[in-house]
């Protein structure tokens, strides 16, 4: 078991180093960092000074090592466009994105599993069929169209919910939260629905097909023969066995939540990291782009590590054995 987790830790480390190298190359070779920081009018002497101060005259491997060391301490340089430290820009925007992403993931997971189980148990019911058809459309619709549609219905026509921003936020230390005010909660509804919808449809379809598969397995028939109530079979025996693939996909999907948060945040003018990144791409603000890339890679590596640990908790075959299970 320990070997299993160590192995995924190593893999994560390799990914992080590869991504750090890409981020470093972007910073170093896309445009001239010195010109970007000083502007076109700077004197040659200013440029030479800054080049020396940034250490751009040193050998490239040394520069890379310094880049990694700085990044590990949270120093990503200074935004070309805003002239502020990238790390403080990120910290300022982090709470908005985290609240949005976590709530969307919870929403997608809970509702997705509930609908998936329902669609599997009442396979031929009309509600199950309706849910499945809607999910097919959901898979095909781009996120931003769903967001625009929701805004049109709930903000423009019905005027029930706000369509942009976070509403009023409360400051707790450096963290700002929208969860403690009515307008903050109202502002969360549409973005969470938009962001969670795609993941919801994916999780639901997966739970349904896994559930149908497991319900045909021998141990379910034996359980029925033993006279265990149907409800208990469905939830205790079947659902538990569908969880392993669902958790894998859900872990991968969390990456999707972060990526599509970029789109959702733009649609709803949500002041989070995704909107920061889109702005950086628009203006080719390389330090912000590479910092965001590193941040996302870190989150991905962390999630896949967590998923591996959850595996061990869910699958008794993995406990006490160093072998990776044949899937």
């Amino acid at each position: 078991m320990l070997a299993y987790i160590l192995r995924s830790l190593m893999q994560g480390l390799v990914v992080m180093i590869a991504v750090a190298f890409i981020a470093f190359s972007m910073f170093r070779f896309v445009g001239d960092p010195v010109v970007n920081m000083l502007g076109q009018e700077a004197t040659l002497q200013d440029r030479a000074e800054l080049t020396e101060r940034l250490g751009l005259n040193d050998p490239v491997p040394l520069q890379f090592a310094r880049f990694v060391a700085d990044a590990a301490q949270g120093d990503f340089g200074i935004s070309y466009r805003q002239g502020r430290k990238v790390s403080s820009l990120i910290l300022e925007r982090l709470p908005a994105t985290v609240e949005l992403a976590v709530l969307s993931a919870i929403f997608a997971f809970v509702v997705g599993i509930a609908f998936g189980v329902y669609a599997a148990i009442r396979r031929d019911g009309w509600i199950a069929n309706l849910v499945m058809s809607i999910s097919l459309i959901g898979v095909s619709l781009p996120t931003f169209l769903i967001g625009i549609g929701l805004i049109y219905i709930f903000a423009v026509e019905l005027r029930w919910l706000p369509s942009f921003g976070r509403g009023d936020t409360v400051k707790i230390g450096w963290w700002t939260t929208g969860l403690l005010t009515v307008s903050g909660l109202k502002s969360l509804v549409l973005p969470v629905l938009t962001l969670g919808f795609l993941q919801l449809t994916l999780i639901m379809r997966l739970v349904r097909s896994e559930m149908l598969e497991v319900m045909r397995a021998d141990f379910i028939r034996f359980a029925r023969a033993r006279g265990i109530p149907e409800r208990k079979i469905e939830f205790r025996h079947a659902l538990r066995n569908t969880m392993i693939p669902v958790i894998t996909i859900a872990g991968v999907q969390l990456g999707g939540v972060i990526a599509f948060a970029i789109v959702t945040e733009t649609v709803f003018q949500w002041p989070g990291l995704g909107a920061l990144f889109v702005n950086a791409v628009q203006f080719v603000d390389v330090p912000v782009m590479s910092a965001y890339l590193l941040f996302v890679a870190f989150v991905f590596v962390l999630t896949s590590l967590l998923v591996d640990i959850v595996y061990v908790a869910l699958d008794p075959r993995l406990r006490g054995s160093a072998l990776v299970p044949a899937k």
């Binding site: 990914v15 590869a18 781009p142 996120t143 369509s163 970029i262 733009t266 991905f300 896949s304």
Partner: protein, 315 residues
């Protein structure tokens, strides 16, 4: 392998006869949804290909576009103008014509992007599978790392980097190429993995060994002998990826890093329309949005059907 008894020397059936007789056509005719999807895709492709001749006006000819015509609702609403069936956008362009032109741009970017992705993926997959060793592990490690990230994120990142490299060039000239490169570089992994897998199997077969013994150069063996035998599954990926590429293009354009408003794709039109949603001008965003949704849904349905029809286990 046992020797098959030689069948009577018959004329091989013509291509047409083989198509009529095939399982694929039969399964196509059985599925009504697929037929509808195929018709929709065909109509949209024709509309896009011939948009300069079909569209009632050229929405990008400044001589025929008047700002006075801006934000006219669709013809059937109050204040509508029969000249503009689906209404006009904020610059007085006929929305129906703009959608046809936008569809054309979206499909061009999608098709070129998918073609680039397939070319890169197939080349790298063949190299990895055929050469093996270090080349293989290098290419596949890159693929693994890239697969960790969602394609849309990679496309955005590449978009930023490529625009940083093209800096100074006119954005209108480069926008289309930037998009094609972003899409091509974000979607190659799936092709490479598929092709590598089948190449590993084919590499050890007798005909490849024979070609090698004859002394043919490796590139020729890969292209002429291995490639035709591994290309099959790519067809399905191509179809499904076209839908993804169109969505990616639309998303990038919506985010403002894709095609500029002077050369709009469906995504650009939607992003223009999004600004007028609150003033009640619902048509500017709705019609391009619906067109995009229908296109993607139809292509996805075709892709699903193709995957099932070509999968021997499901027959």
């Amino acid at each position: 392998m046992s020797v098959q008894p030689a069948s009577s020397p018959k004329q091989p059936p013509s291509l047409w006869a083989r198509i009529l007789d095939s399982d694929i056509l039969a399964s196509f005719l059985r599925s009504k949804v697929t037929m509808v999807a195929a018709v929709i895709v065909l109509v949209l492709f024709i509309g896009a290909a011939f948009s300069p001749w079909i569209a009632p006006t050229n929405p990008f000819d400044p001589a025929t576009v008047f700002l006075a015509d801006a934000n006219i609702p669709p013809a059937w609403q109050d204040g509508g103008d029969p000249k503009f069936i689906l209404g006009t956008d904020d610059q007085g362009r006929d929305l129906y014509s703009a959608i046809l032109y936008g569809l054309r741009v979206s499909l061009i970017v999608g098709l070129l992007g998918v073609a680039l992705a397939a070319t890169i993926g197939i080349t790298l997959g063949l190299l990895a599978g055929y050469l093996g060793g270090r080349v293989d592990s290098l290419i596949m490690r890159i693929a693994d790392v890239q697969l960790t990230f969602p394609a849309i994120l990679i496309a955005l990142l590449i978009d930023g980097v490529v625009r940083g490299i093209f800096k100074g060039a006119n954005r209108e000239d480069t926008a289309l190429y930037v998009l094609v490169i972003s899409i091509g570089l974000s979607f190659w992994v799936q092709y490479a993995r598929t092709i590598r897998g089948s190449t590993l199997v084919e590499r050890n077969k007798d005909y490849v060994q024979a070609a090698r013994l004859v002394g043919l150069p490796a590139p020729l063996i890969m292209l002429r002998h291995v490639l035709p035998n591994v290309i099959g599954p790519v067809l399905v990926i191509l179809t499904i990826n076209l839908a993804l590429a169109v969505i990616t293009e639309a998303t990038l354009s919506f985010l403002g890093v894709g095609l500029p408003p002077t050369q709009p794709s469906l995504g650009t039109l939607i992003s223009i329309g999004n600004r007028y949603l609150f003033s009640g001008d619902w048509w500017i965003v709705t019609f391009p949005g619906v067109t995009l949704a229908i296109l993607v849904l139809a292509v996805n349905l075709l892709g699903d059907w193709l995957r099932d029809a070509l999968n021997p286990r499901l027959r």
